[in-house]
Symmetry: D2
């Protein structure tokens, strides 16, 4: 098909170049926002008298028909027309003739694609935020049921101190709250209309950029036309925030994979969220968390891809930037599917409370409480740590727990030990006493859940 | 030296492990904030009656002495004490005995290092923001001098339309404004005190986390103790924002390298900012922008490093996280040095206005103006584009400029061409007419500079 | 559809999990090698008497039919059957019943997918090597025509010394030779059959792994069954070698983009390999090299993705590893299309010899020759460098070339200058004298081209 | 200090630029190879009569003195002399005057640094290969002791089939064998001397590049002078191979961290290779494997850094390339320290054989053996899988093992079950039967250890 820019060219584009450089096979995803942007642009052109009211109506009608055609799959996208923008414009001109041929007035693909990608990402980020909300709701629901479920808190993957499961889950809630906030920030920074920057310099035609921005619900217009078309910060920031979100899901999924090992045995994944083995009849595998973990690499890779692409690109637009779309689209799809499937799965996990509680009680997990006991009696912490360290070693060698020692034996380690010490040694008692702000005490955790729940009411 | 945690251990750490795992060779950089945090912690312990007022004073006095010793280089950091935290605590205990041994009450290295890194980054980000401010001031100053300096605007590295140099420079101003904003956002999100999360579960001792946070000028305290010590979002966000800043500097430096080629000849770098060749006597090389461009990879690498480190780490703290410091420190150093040296260099660049103006006039750079001329006479843009495309091809074949054609010849391409067309064909006239918001018209650009200048007044 | 592993499961897989975890939408690409591997496996099972000869024939016939169906697009791939392996096996069982149900004997998807990916990559790498060969042939052809075409050699993007274009082009030839070698090495290391490792431990059935390996033309079998199924080195090595290849093409394309600027004006891209602007009628853009440059980020991203995925995965197979395919496939497609399009484009580039020669002569590009002249007369190089440096500065201030100075003036800089110096000052004379091994002398370059040409004869 | 290239410059380098652009603070690490290369160069210059024999001797004596001074720390490296090369040359000239001033004849820093980095990496890679050898020796030694130690083989972190520990360890042996091979390949490709490429074009002086190459034990000289100085493939290939090595160590360390959890309890790390907690007296943490895991990110980051740096750099040398050193040096240090500390630690790990064997017996780990039993009686594998799947589900619901069922009950699932089935159900029997090539049968594993042991004898 004849290229709309072919005036000065004497030869046709080589077939291999068309195939190599076309983007419509993937940027067709932008069709809806492309049409949305074009309608706003046409309205503005008419308002400013650059085209007539009738021409605008013809254009808008044409675009709406095209939208319907794409919706029902009847528009043929043609690689020789390069991208979604030219495909839609060509369809419009086929439909409306001279009127359609006026749509690209005071507009370039440079500002058009910058607009489309912003409109697209704005919509997708909103959906991602909604998915985070839903996922956090699920976490909160699960936490509500487990404010008294004991489990070992780990550092270095070693049992450290008892915590309650709700507290552990709420750590993830916090992470996703920060992600959400970062997506909101990105959304705010993205709310700038580039349309009207044209090729790079602006235009001599009397356009009204603010009007277009208002029609498209942007907060403002870009203040520099060169920046408007050279800038992909909004895309990179999106992928970058997504990479962190994926990092958070990868940590959660690592926990889930660990917990579903026979060795931990803390959880059982529902049949509907696990799969089997083609050879081993007994297997039940935590595929979903594994895949989420694996997909983290994908989004990290997208981030590297888009950052590399933009490295040392001179101003202003360069065709390299066409390669922004694949990583952005893939990131959108990955993040959305991950958040959705995790929110689906989480409520169906069966927690093995007994096993978790047992694990929380073993391994001298309340040794720090014993040290704090001594501190409360005036022993410097470093000394207390040393005393309890020796006590733990002594018990360990004999295969004993601290509570197995009689008070007399304990006093050999410190004369300050009293019988009330025994009350401190249970995991339940340990968590109950962790009442410092943000601590794992069930009372505090329950209160935090209520606060978070209230904050989420509309 | 005996490890402060050695109570339960029977054997000493292997020498090779000490060397492998120590961090004091690089985290000593945190000494100032470590002491700042410890002083606040000691104050709080005294206020809450966990240690006595006298003990607190002894501790604080000791810490201040240590600060002075480090300042003058007289404190020996010992790798067998692992990190800056333990080195300082050990020095304090040597100095103050039992009082010092109480400092680590209700605190773990887990929350301490999270605190230190936040305090450190908070300070560094503020300095980076100040450097961005200074750099933007320099850009603005340069732009002020060049609101009428013509140059070719490029797309695809091909001359596209004339712009003014100030407009091109302000595109960079916009980028750094967004970077600045992102650093501010990161700073806000970082203003959360983790201290008091202790190992991971909080503590049974009656601490006042908000008081510490207030002393250290944090906005709030972390709401979840597990998250408080597992979280490195603030570090990743910093590196991530820095990566984008470096991407922006790499683009500017690419422009500078290009402009200083003999082929472009737009600028000359001052002798003081260039270097020579060890073999070729005539060479003068743009080393600074080249190095900036190269250092972009370094910060990208830091981002990948820290993201990889955190991928799929189960909760809560894992020793892997010690590897957060090298990429963070290196990013701080790189970004600061890059911003500083660019701000130093930029004002000394000599622009070759004549050559830039000539380049802006060549290559049919006002062809779009001709098309817009036809549009203003009612020709659909697509048709106008086609007409001008053919005109350009005709001229190109004859080695002519559009203005070389007599009006009669021009009318063969479109009867709508009038003599007034010739007035449009100069670069100067082209930029003057780009009066759409954000466009390159010198009047608009000058106005924008005034606005930006005012916004930066205190 | 019922899962082939569903024996122990009570509930069906959730729809959202099926969609999330299926891979057949992308791993169907492996169908041909999957069938190839299955046929070899069936042959071996029959040879070993594990299945009967008739069963093997039935299986093989069935698989060949399936291959034909896939070829003509009549096999429906079903996401509920997860992947290409299960889809083909299920089709086979539908077709052949009990015989087909025996195919998966002594095989797991774990070793099957490891096999398929190796077979696939082996084929693709061979094609990539052939594309490199073709591309190098094109470079060589171009070099042959330009052994006497002068151009400036650049360091730091500043003109450094004259070289001949063929020499510059052959630098790329060398890079691709190394890439080719690395692909060969990867191919060699990949020639190891994993089939028979089964799930991870091997099997109790009397299989003959070497026979399968021989049928599939593998050099050997893996020596450790756990490694066989846990290993993705071959995939990572492939992406890693590809990343370097892309780096090389990005450098070449950067040169092409630069050379096609108006400022350099060294080349003109053919119309068939350039595109225009939707708004600026005069534009002709080097889209192909720009896109290649941009796609470099994509392959870098794929490398990061796959490395991240494998980071800290415990043995043996984990589902994360399903995410190896997308980056591998995308890398294959990108590298192949890039090599092909560059080989297509390169012969059509029009070099502007006059302009290149002019540029080679300017900017004191033979200053090093002058220094070497002095060296040959006994002046220490450092002194000679200093002398010529001053000479260049003197000329530069007066806007003169060295040859513009009379011999008397030259002798003020060094009494050793004789009239024969003037003969050295031309670019042509400079390249002719660079006769050190690997140097740019046209005679040497032509010889090198002959050597390379001969080496490539079959 | 006056720059050796300062002839044409009128102003001194700005202090901030000196600090920003110097590399001697890190490239001083190259001093030994820099001197080695210079000595070879001087010998060649004398052999070719470019300098006199006496001058060469003076230079060589001077360089050896400088080497001694650096060795004992008495040479002051000066940032104003930029790099290690200029610092050493300046010291030589101070020492030897005119003779020293002749050393840089027919040499540029461009080919000098390319040479130095190759010499440096060649040495370091050899050391890394020796460290791999030692590490593999350690693995082999450990494997020898554990050919009969049962443990669960895992897929998806779920117990899959019993294996022997030696087999699991040898999987790592295989990985490091491939790494070793890749390092060898890189070493071979690196054995090319760039010296004599000079700035980029070669030289008119009658040098003998092959002689220098021979003196420095390089296999050959580079065939293209532009490539010689533009190429950093050897550095990238090194980092890239290292990234894969780190990935392998990260997997091993993940296994170690998991195995040392209380939940797995497979191993205990020796006190000398673990550290404690500053707050929790009972903790013993697997810091070494955690740090190794974390350092993986660092090397991945180095790879991204150096790839990014080289992306789209036009030929030939650009100053960006100075940034190759930090990632290369850091990778060398990281890989060497990781291999060394792991080789130190591994022999001291205490394996809990009883616990591993118990784990190997649980969870229907021999279900596949039961299916293969049916296969050997003619049941199609898919049917056998289904039958055993149902059997496992039945047992699971009743909390039974397969061996708990009487033969009559078993026959309800398949009439082919005979009493000999019970003999297959133990983990020990299962591994013994995995006699397919590369399988986990202790007999095969022991044989493989012997083969590997023999292959490593000198």
């Amino acid at each position: 098909m004849k290229k709309p820019w072919a005036g000065r060219f004497q030869k046709e584009t080589a077939k291999s170049v068309e195939t190599f450089s076309e983007s419509v096979s993937f940027d067709r995803r932008l069709w809806r926002v492309d049409i949305e942007g074009s309608i706003a642009h046409a309205r503005m052109l008419a308002k400013q008298g650059i085209i007539s009211r009738d021409e605008a109506l013809t254009i808008i009608r044409g675009l709406k028909e095209i939208a319907e055609e794409i919706q029902r799959g009847s528009l043929h996208f043609d690689a020789s027309l390069e991208d979604v923008h030219m495909n839609i414009e060509a369809a419009l001109i086929r439909k409306t003739g001279a009127a359609g041929a006026k749509l690209h007035t005071a507009r370039s693909r440079n500002d058009q694609v910058a607009l489309d990608l912003r409109l697209y990402l704005r919509q997708e980020i909103r959906e991602i935020i909604a998915l985070i909300d839903r996922f956090q709701e699920v976490i909160l629901g699960l936490a509500r049921r487990h404010t008294n479920t004991l489990m070992p808190g780990y550092t270095h993957m070693q049992r450290a101190q008892p915590v309650v499961l709700a507290h552990h889950l709420l750590a993830y809630f916090e992470m996703f709250s920060r992600d959400r906030q970062r997506f909101e920030d990105a959304l705010g920074r993205m709310s700038v209309s580039p349309l009207g920057a044209c090729a790079l310099a602006g235009t001599s035609l009397p356009i009204d950029r603010k009007y277009v921005a208002k029609l498209l619900r942007f907060g403002t217009v870009s203040d520099n036309s060169i920046d408007a078309i050279s800038d992909r910060d909004f895309a990179i920031e999106f992928v970058s925030v997504s990479a962190m979100t994926m990092m958070h899901t990868s940590r959660l999924c690592e926990d889930l994979v660990l917990w579903s090992t026979e060795e931990f045995g803390f959880i059982e994944l529902p049949d509907a969220f696990a799969t089997g083995s083609s050879i081993m009849p007994q297997k039940k595998n935590p595929d979903v968390p594994e895949l989420v973990r694996g997909k983290t690499g994908r989004v990290y890779g997208n981030l590297v891809g888009i950052l590399t692409m933009m490295k040392a690109l001179p101003l202003s637009y360069n065709r390299d930037m066409q390669e922004d779309k694949i990583p952005v689209f893939d990131t959108v799809d990955t993040v959305k599917s991950v958040l959705a499937v995790l929110a689906d799965m989480l409520p169906h996990i069966k927690f093995n409370r007994r096993r978790m509680a047992e694990a929380a009680s073993r391994g001298f997990s309340t040794a720090t409480d014993v040290a704090e006991y001594l501190v409360s009696k005036g022993v410097p912490f470093r000394t207390a740590h040393e005393v309890v360290g020796r006590l733990v070693r002594f018990c360990g060698e004999g295969g004993l727990a601290i509570e197995d020692l009689p008070i007399a034996k304990l006093r050999e380690f410190s004369p300050l030990f009293q019988k009330d010490l025994y009350r401190l040694l249970s995991a339940r008692s340990s968590v109950a006493r962790k009442r410092s702000a943000g601590g794992t005490s069930p009372v505090l955790v329950a209160k935090r859940i209520r606060t978070l729940g209230r904050a989420r009411k509309p």
